[in-house]
């Protein structure tokens, strides 16, 4: 008699994802739902979605959600968590939301050691608005606002916000992963689980940056998008643990 070994997580609504074929968002949404189920925290989890493709995250994740203006999710999350420390509060943000307009709020929340979890989806473009340059766009990368490729002189360098947040004293756990293969997807899930555990254990600020494919705006096939991350993006944004003070904090 066969038993089902893989099914839709309870906390993931049945709606068909509006995301493009091969988009990393839907993989990541599923992982978040799986983690919420595994920890059994659906009845006290509150999420803050971004302005961006994932603005409709509430159509998929069956938890209480409070919308924030573009870039302000971390500040809204701070208010939620400080008013209700019993909630598990996460933000879900793209590279524009967190590393452009939201940089100040991100750094200061990390610096204050706000006990929240940030899910940072890095796909190197502004997806929802049609593929403009993002802070994490690579040098030479073509986007709709860098038609000849990103140039350092005019457009600046790609920004590594996770590295900057690692410097902030209140950040406890920061890791960068990707979702380009089953192995990487499982590593992402492990990282996300660890990040939520940091919050549950009240150790401080946690963040997982996830390199995610955007085939539509990169103008490549879904499979090529994953290859591009593995072979090109991961050179500028290496997959690694950027900061991990969980052991020390747990002892201290």
């Amino acid at each position: 008699m066969a038993k089902q070994v893989f099914a839709r997580p309870e906390s993931l609504k049945d709606n068909i994802f509006h995301y493009c074929p091969g988009c990393g968002h839907s993989i990541i949404h599923r992982l978040v739902a799986e983690i919420i189920d595994e920890f059994g925290i659906r009845d006290k989890t509150v999420g803050v979605p971004p302005a961006g493709c994932a603005v409709l995250a509430y159509n998929y994740l069956n938890v209480d959600m409070g919308e924030a203006p573009h870039g302000r999710a971390v500040a809204v999350a701070t208010g939620l968590k400080r008013a209700r420390p019993d909630f598990i509060v996460f933000t879900y943000q793209g590279d524009g939301d967190l590393a452009a307009i939201g940089t100040s709020e991100a750094i200061h929340a990390a610096n204050r050691g706000e006990n929240i979890t940030v899910i940072f989806v890095n796909n190197g473009v502004y997806g929802m608005t049609g593929g403009q340059m993002a802070p994490t766009t690579l040098l030479g990368q073509t986007t709709t606002t860098t038609p000849g490729g990103r140039e350092q002189v005019r457009d600046g360098y790609p920004l590594d916000l996770s590295q900057m947040l690692g410097i902030a004293a209140g950040s406890v756990y920061i890791e960068r992963t990707s979702v380009t293969s089953p192995k990487n997807v499982q590593k992402t899930k492990k990282a996300l689980k660890k990040a939520f555990q940091v919050q549950i254990d009240q150790l401080g600020f946690s963040l997982v940056e996830i390199l995610s494919p955007c085939p539509t705006n990169w103008k490549v096939s879904e499979i090529e998008a994953c290859k591009r991350i593995d072979e090109l993006v991961a050179k500028s944004y290496p997959l690694k643990v950027i900061k991990d003070l969980t052991q020390e904090k747990a002892q201290g």
Binding site: M1, A2, K3, Q4, V5, F6, A7, R8, L12, I16, F17, Y19, C20, P21, G22, C23, G24, H25, S26, I27, R30, S181, P182, V185, Q186, P215, S221, E222, I223, C226
Partner: protein, 75 residues
């Protein structure tokens, strides 16, 4: 080795091909037909009932699937 099988929701699938690459046994292919959204959806190449199936129910396809279109079963 245990045997498994999968079920793919044709109309949820967007034909991205991740599952096809992920499957270590090459049990999935893209359908020649279109689904209701106009994609060529992925389809499982084996019949659930056959005993000579290659699928082991490893779930790598479902882990990769962005659209949660795959259910996996194992004996």
């Amino acid at each position: 080795m245990a045997k498994g099988f999968i079920r793919i929701d044709r109309n949820r699938c967007k034909g991205c091909g991740f599952c096809i690459i992920a499957c270590p046994k090459q049990c999935i292919r893209l359908s020649e037909e279109l689904n209701i959204k106009g994609y060529h959806p992925a389809e499982y190449t084996e019949a659930e009932s056959r005993n000579d199936r290659d699928c082991t129910g490893c779930t790598l396809c479902a882990i990769m699937c962005p659209d949660v279109a795959i259910e996996v079963f194992r004996e």
